[in-house]
């Protein structure tokens, strides 16, 4: 039923309810068609038996659990039991005979009944006394588990299976082994001049990027907190950059500078009379681009850590006759160590998952994320290979993610207690201050040049060939005509622009809602399996976008959930890609709210839903706003998962730009990117203004 997109209701007029493709199950069963849906009626009717019974009656709970579990189970069973070509399993054919029609994607009907069954189940569990019989909390847990399972675990599991599928559709270990031990994946040729496998390339690159971004991030953090540098606010503004920049834009700017016809390249070539080379394409280019892109992330992490080292510790060291340099080396630096590790792992994960820059700058340097893409869209079209590559990539990022949590989770040295620390951070020792400030300034200057290049490049006719200034690219992309019927959006980019805005705008509130409910459950409620629950919801942070993309097209291209090619799949992928952002924002601000606020609301007669709505939510307004804007902006800049999921009808800005780049139409691509950056800058700026205004007297 989603064939025409979830927003299309043409099935309502197109023969509903009697045409057999569209008809609701009730009609079909009455006509003796699709009898496998009939058993669903039983659990649907079951709860009617207990409508009048009190909640405390054990029968009430039992019936609800029974009907919920039965209905939900049957829905899933029939969803998978009947494939696109009839029954999936032979014994089902024997039982029901060969069906005349195939399974269609599940639509609203199935969605509503699944939801209904789920909440019948949770009502029942609550009535049995779980979590003090709190229906809202049990339902929220059930709901989050159900959607995370459906849209994170199911596709990933599906993808893992795809790695074992042979060409004729059966499962085999040898196929997996053949693809897994492929030379293109693990080859070590680069040690003697040939090419290395993508896995080694990715790993090598990620380690270097993690290392370099950590050092640069630390330099910036030290300059901001422990130097007499005057323009600290400008340096802090750096942190906004990665949020508003589509990932491949840095790559584009680097091409303008150092590419074959880049300004620096041409300038140097003229100066020394050497032939320009393509050195940028490959490892060096990706390394520079990723370092530029992810240094601000490391900075963001490290500034918290560096500021978190209590000044009184350092003052204590100084009163114990340690010099500034000794204090830094023996106290400050060791206290920052967990933060450094954290920044390294973040850089590592980001580099592994980055898709845009390798795509633009990769050349012959294969990395996992782009190899996955080419395995799916290239001439080789090999789902199994894509799945294997995705597994390797997932293994790397999950290991880093796990290491980060296991090792650093309990090892926070953050020493600020909130009171009594009136001290001031000592300045860096001079011997350190000079090089650190120099490095930071040079890199900041470089970043500024790169961003300047983006803006400048968007108004140049044809880079390197015709350097005259023009607004031609903006006109091509964003021209409008005013006609009698109103405005006509004639520019080439408008379609994808509005689609992007719409999809991002739909996804943002959903992301924020799911994220906040999850955060509420994690911070405010205790239930069995809470740790697994938390791990599951934060997991999607470590799953690279390309992996999500591949697993989604593998999982949702066929019934029961058939949403590939629709706008829905984009919205869904954004929700689960950005969920950790919402969850983190929620957790961070919810843990600032004293639990006695909830409790006093409960003792005053409000139930947990009313408490959530009237006490927690109003106090979280800044967090909600932030989650909204960030998930909106991230949805606009995302590329890695999106590029697998877009369709002609639902093209996104980023994938459109990548398409332009592949056609060597850099002018339009850069003009479009510049526009996106400014749109998002506006969004973030608006957030600053709004949050600044929401003044709430927190508990002091």
């Amino acid at each position: 039923m989603v064939d025409g997109g979830l927003w299309s209701f043409e099935w309502l007029v197109d023969g509903y309810p009697f045409d057999e493709d569209y008809a609701p199950a009730a009609f079909l069963i009455a006509q003796g068609e699709k009898t496998w849906l009939a058993p669903l009626l039983v659990p649907l009717a079951l709860p009617l038996l207990v409508v009048r019974r009190p909640k405390s009656d054990p029968l009430f709970a039992r019936i609800l659990i029974l009907s919920g579990a039965l209905g939900f189970g049957w829905l899933i069973a029939q969803g998978f039991g009947i494939g696109i070509r009839g029954f999936t399993f032979d014994w089902l054919k024997a039982l029901f005979g060969e069906p005349r029609i195939r399974q269609f994607g599940m639509g609203y009907g199935a969605m509503f009944s699944a939801t209904a069954f789920l909440f019948l189940l949770t009502q029942g569990i609550a009535a049995r006394g779980a979590i003090n019989g709190d229906v809202f909390v049990v339902s929220a847990i059930g709901g989050v588990i159900a959607i995370v399972t459906t849209f994170v675990f199911f596709p990933i599991a599906n993808m893992l299976f795809a790695a074992f599928v042979t060409e004729d559709g059966s499962y085999s270990l040898t196929v997996f082994a053949a693809k897994f031990f492929d030379d293109r994946l693990w080859g070590l040729g680069c040690l003697w001049g040939a090419r290395c496998g993508a896995a080694w390339n990715s790993l090598f690159l990620a380690v270097i990027v993690g290392f370099v971004t950590t050092i640069l991030g630390l330099c910036f953090a030290l300059v901001v907190t422990r130097s007499g540098f005057r323009y600290k606010r400008a340096v802090r503004a750096l942190t906004v950059l990665p949020i508003i920049t589509p990932p491949f834009v840095i790559g584009l700017a680097l091409i303008l500078l150092f590419g074959l016809s880049g300004s620096v390249t041409v300038f140097l070539a003229d100066l020394f009379g050497v032939q320009p080379t393509r050195w940028l394409y490959g490892m060096p280019g990706i390394l520079i681009a990723q370092t530029l892109a992810f240094t601000p992330i490391a900075f963001l992490v490290l500034i918290g850590v560096v500021e978190g080292v209590s000044p009184s510790m350092e003052e204590a060291a100084q009163t114990l006759r340690a010099s500034r340099w000794q204090t830094f080396r023996t106290v400050s630096l060791p206290l920052m160590r967990p933060g450094l590790a954290n920044a390294f792992l973040l850089g590592f994960i980001e580099s592994m998952a980055d898709f845009g820059n390798p795509l633009v700058l990769g050349g012959n340097f294969d990395v996992l994320s782009t190899e996955i893409f080419f395995a799916i869209v290239g001439a080789q079209y090999d789902q199994g290979r894509a799945a294997v590559l995705a597994m390797v990539l997932l293994f790397f990022t999950l290991s880093a993610f796990y290491a980060q949590r296991a090792w650093l989770g309990r090892k926070s040295y953050t020493t600020v207690t909130g009171k009594g620390d009136a001290g001031v951070h000592p300045l860096m020792p001079t011997g350190l201050s000079m090089p650190v400030t120099t490095i930071a300034l040079v890199w900041a200057f470089f970043t500024a040049v790169v961003y300047g290049m983006i803006v400048y490049g968007s108004v140049v006719e044809l880079w390197g060939v015709n350097n005259s200034l023009t607004f031609k690219h903006y006109v091509t992309a964003f021209s409008v005509r005013f006609e009698e019927e109103g405005i006509r959006w004639t520019g080439a980019a408008w379609d994808s622009f509005w689609t992007t805005i719409t999809i991002a705008a739909i996804a943002a509130p959903l992301t924020a809602a799911v994220g906040l409910v999850t955060a509420y459950l994690l911070t405010r409620q205790n239930f069995a399996g809470k740790n697994a629950f938390e791990f599951g919801t934060m997991l999607s942070f470590a799953i690279p976008g390309t992996v999500i993309g591949v697993s989604y097209i593998l999982a949702f291209n066929v019934p029961p959930i058939e949403i590939t090619g629709t706008g829905v799949i984009l919205v869904v992928s954004f929700i689960f890609r950005n969920l950790p952002v919402g969850v983190r924002a929620g957790i961070a601000s919810m843990s600032q709210l004293d639990k006695s606020l909830d409790e006093s609301s409960l003792t005053l007669g409000a139930n947990s839903w009313q408490t959530f709505r009237r006490v927690i939510l109003p106090l979280l307004r800044p967090a909600i706003l932030a989650a909204l804007v960030y998930s909106f902006v991230r949805a606009m800049t995302a590329i890695s998962a999106v590029i697998f999921l877009v369709s002609a009808r639902y093209d996104m800005a980023t994938s459109y730009i990548i398409g332009r780049v592949e056609n060597n139409d850099y002018g339009l691509a850069i003009a479009y990117s510049t526009t996106l950056i400014f749109v998002m800058l506006a969004a973030v700026g608006l957030l600053q203004v709004l949050v600044g205004r929401v003044q709430i007297g927190r508990r002091s």
Binding site: G133, E599, T603, G605, V615, L619
Partner: protein, 357 residues
């Protein structure tokens, strides 16, 4: 329509063998029986970690009993969550909602209790009047002083006319002078309205001042319950004696039992006091600092090892063969110097015999 006034629907609270176990084996409350009469103020008193706050939270329904039954009035509320119990609570941190004005805070619970908008408003207003905060309704909690915030929290809990009102260390965030006044206010409101109040504190002086009855808890169990006077004058054991007010514990020998009275001996000094049906033999004598006298010619030999002037009285530490005792004397004009040899005796009433030697 007459102005609404706040009345009381006070009900008794009963615990029958209630236990609370956290996780697998952390016993916070161990099979306690407790009865709180309607209209009484009962204090749960004990050192931190003794289970008093958990007990309070079980009355509120914020913690569920692991076993046993809890009654409020005639109703078994053991499995009822906080929302559905007719109990309100004043939190240690006040827990005022920072995004609502004072009036909205006080009105909050009323809107869930089926009152109309106007009714809820006038009731909330009456609540604020009662705690002396007339005219503060439009302010935010952050614009009030600590004591005022405290009173808003009390008003918010009072206006619901709960069957039981709970206080969780309500004075611990106030400065010493304010404490005395607020506790008197709380006691006055409780007595005027005839509320059932359960009050948690670890401050024994506060407990003595406000309570109809005190329940002293230790290690998840009830050590003793009784009126403040009973606990102070007749503690059951050394723990209660030492916890309620300060007590000097001295080893003694019961040398004779004469009906209700017993005669004890410490280093040759004999003293007569109620025997509390203890047999002859070794026992412990608990003596409050203010019940120690010196200056007689007879008594237990002791040396003054420390003398401190604290304004209203003198505080002395005495050492001797019995160990060390702490004594206070009202006579500040002729203080004794450290090193002075004295003879220690006890006041006619006050010292209590406890079992154990």
């Amino acid at each position: 329509m007459s102005e609404p006034t706040i009345s009381s629907k006070a009900a008794p609270v009963r615990f029958e063998g209630v236990s609370k176990v956290f996780g697998k084996d952390v016993v916070a409350v161990d099979a306690i029986d407790l009865h709180v009469d309607a209209g009484k103020l009962v204090t749960l008193l004990g050192p931190s970690g003794c289970g008093k706050t958990t007990t309070l939270r079980m009355i509120a329904g914020l913690e569920m009993a692991s076993s046993g039954r809890i009654f409020i009035g005639d109703r078994d509320v053991t499995t009822l969550p906080a929302t559905d119990r007719d109990v309100t609570m004043v939190f240690q941190s006040y827990a005022l909602f920072p995004h609502m004005t004072v009036l909205e805070n006080v009105r909050y619970g009323l809107t869930f209790s089926g009152f109309g908008k106007e009714e809820a408003r006038s009731r909330a207003q009456a609540g604020l009047d009662l705690v002396g905060l007339k005219g503060f309704g439009g302010r935010l909690p952050s614009e009030l002083s600590g004591g005022q915030q405290q009173r808003v929290a009390v008003a918010r809990a009072l206006v619901l006319e709960p069957q039981v009102l709970l206080f969780d260390e309500p004075l611990s965030n106030l400065d010493a002078k304010l404490r005395r006044q607020v506790r008197e206010d709380i006691r006055a409101i409780q007595q005027d309205l005839g509320l059932t109040v359960v009050y948690v504190t670890h401050d024994q002086e506060e407990a003595l001042a406000v309570s109809d009855e005190i329940v002293v808890m230790r290690n998840a169990a009830i050590a003793q319950k009784g009126t403040p006077r009973e606990l102070y004058d007749a503690p059951n054991d050394t723990f209660v004696a030492d916890f309620i007010g300060e007590a000097n514990l001295l080893a003694c020998i019961i040398v004779a039992v004469e009906g209700d009275m017993a005669v004890i001996e410490i280093e040759g000094y004999r003293y007569r006091l109620p025997g509390r049906s203890l047999p002859a033999g070794p026992a412990t004598l608990a003596v409050r600092p203010s019940r120690i006298r010196f200056g007689d010619d007879t008594g237990i030999p002791a040396t003054i090892s420390k003398a401190t002037y604290v304004g209203v009285r003198m505080e002395y530490t005495l050492t001797g063969a019995f160990g060390q005792v702490f004594a206070v004397q009202d006579d500040v004009d002729d203080p004794l110097e450290p090193g002075t040899e004295v003879r220690m005796t006890f006041a006619e009433r006050g010292p209590v015999l406890l079992p154990g030697g």
